[in-house]
């Protein structure tokens, strides 16, 4: 942490007192615009990893719900798995459904009946919800006894270099700083949320990576094409001036230069596994 950095701009609170950091509507529109591009390799890899784990843990999955289907090709990846027979998709835009039965919706307000599914898959679908504990409770309710929940989401030090550079440049220029890179939960907190939501046999494992980009511009372009830029409430994130942004780029590129050229960016990816107990649930 850097002394003297204060986060200004209090997020508004809903009646339930859950801070609304993310503008869900803006985020959904951003994902819808990205649907026409090829999905990022990292997303495809995470989907494959979830499907592999599904194969290990679940003998058969009759009814499966895919959350955060932000590209049609993600839906087709899941459809190709013969063990997923009856797939339902929740997507940000009709273009992402790839003709699978599904609806357009918000992961924070799931439009499905209790005990409708055997499996819920959530690849990169839950890191921008405002109320993660509440969303996990909703997901658990969708699952039948013995059902399985699998999710992957960025956590911990993901994009910490970018956050640090932006905070420091903005604090030096204005004496304060607003939120620019969203906060990510730590793996232990994520793991603890599972039993709180009623899941048993919770597992949260973390895969720490350093990805290399040509520069800060290239990193931001990659995030933009993945629909992962912006989306924070305007009240918590103000626009950065050009000189301040350039200063942030200089800080980043000076501190986190990759030995083989370019810059390094941390991605700490957590996989969550939770089960619904067999037999009647409380």
């Amino acid at each position: 942490m850097h002394a003297g950095v204060t986060v200004t701009g209090r997020p508004p609170t809903t009646p339930s007192e859950v801070p609304q950091l993310f503008d869900r509507r803006a985020g959904r529109r951003r994902l819808a615009r990205c649907a026409r591009w090829e999905p990022p390799d990292l997303l495809c890899e995470l989907v494959e990893a979830l499907l592999e784990r599904l194969d290990e843990l679940q003998e058969s999955s009759e009814a499966c719900l895919l959350l955060g289907a932000r590209h049609g090709s993600i839906v087709r990846l899941v459809q190709r798995r013969h063990r997923v027979n009856d797939l339902t998709v929740l997507a940000p835009d009709p273009a992402c459904l790839a003709n699978a039965p599904g609806a357009i919706g918000d992961e924070e307000f799931l439009p499905f009946a209790d005990e409708a599914f055997d499996t819920v898959l959530a690849p990169l679908a839950l890191h921008r919800v405002n109320d993660l504990p509440g969303t996990l409770v909703q997901i658990r309710r969708l699952l039948r006894p013995g059902g399985l929940f699998l999710a992957s989401l960025p956590a911990e030090e993901t994009l910490c270099e970018l956050r640090e550079a932006l905070l420091e440049a903005e604090a030096a220029a204005t004496g304060g700083a607003t939120l620019r890179v969203p906060p990510f939960a730590d793996v232990q907190t994520l793991g603890n949320l599972l039993p709180r939501a009623g899941f048993t046999m919770p597992i949260a494992d973390i895969d720490r990576r350093q990805l290399v980009f040509d520069g800060v511009g290239a990193l931001l372009r990659a995030l933009g094409r993945a629909g992962e830029r912006g989306g924070l409430q305007a009240t918590v994130s103000r626009r950065l001036s050009r000189p301040t942004f350039r200063q942030a780029c200089r800080l980043y590129e000076a501190r986190y230069r990759h030995a083989g050229g370019g810059i390094a960016a941390s991605f700490d990816l957590v996989t969550l596994t939770g089960r619904v107990p067999p037999g009647p649930t409380a």
Partner: protein, 67 residues
Amino acid sequence: MTPKSAGTEVDPRLLEILVCPVTKTDLEYDRDRNELISRAAGLAFPVRDGVPIMLVDEARVLGDDEP
């Protein structure tokens, strides 16, 4: 408005498991207006090309005079 045709109906199996995203209560399918109606929330969710749009910010608020 697009004319109603067989291709714009909601998948019957999907219809069975859809509920209101706000109240989690049952929905009524108004085939004439192509809407899924949540009486509990007072909202009508549009169906576009057979795809239910289950977003509160896209839903129509039901009028007081609607049955």
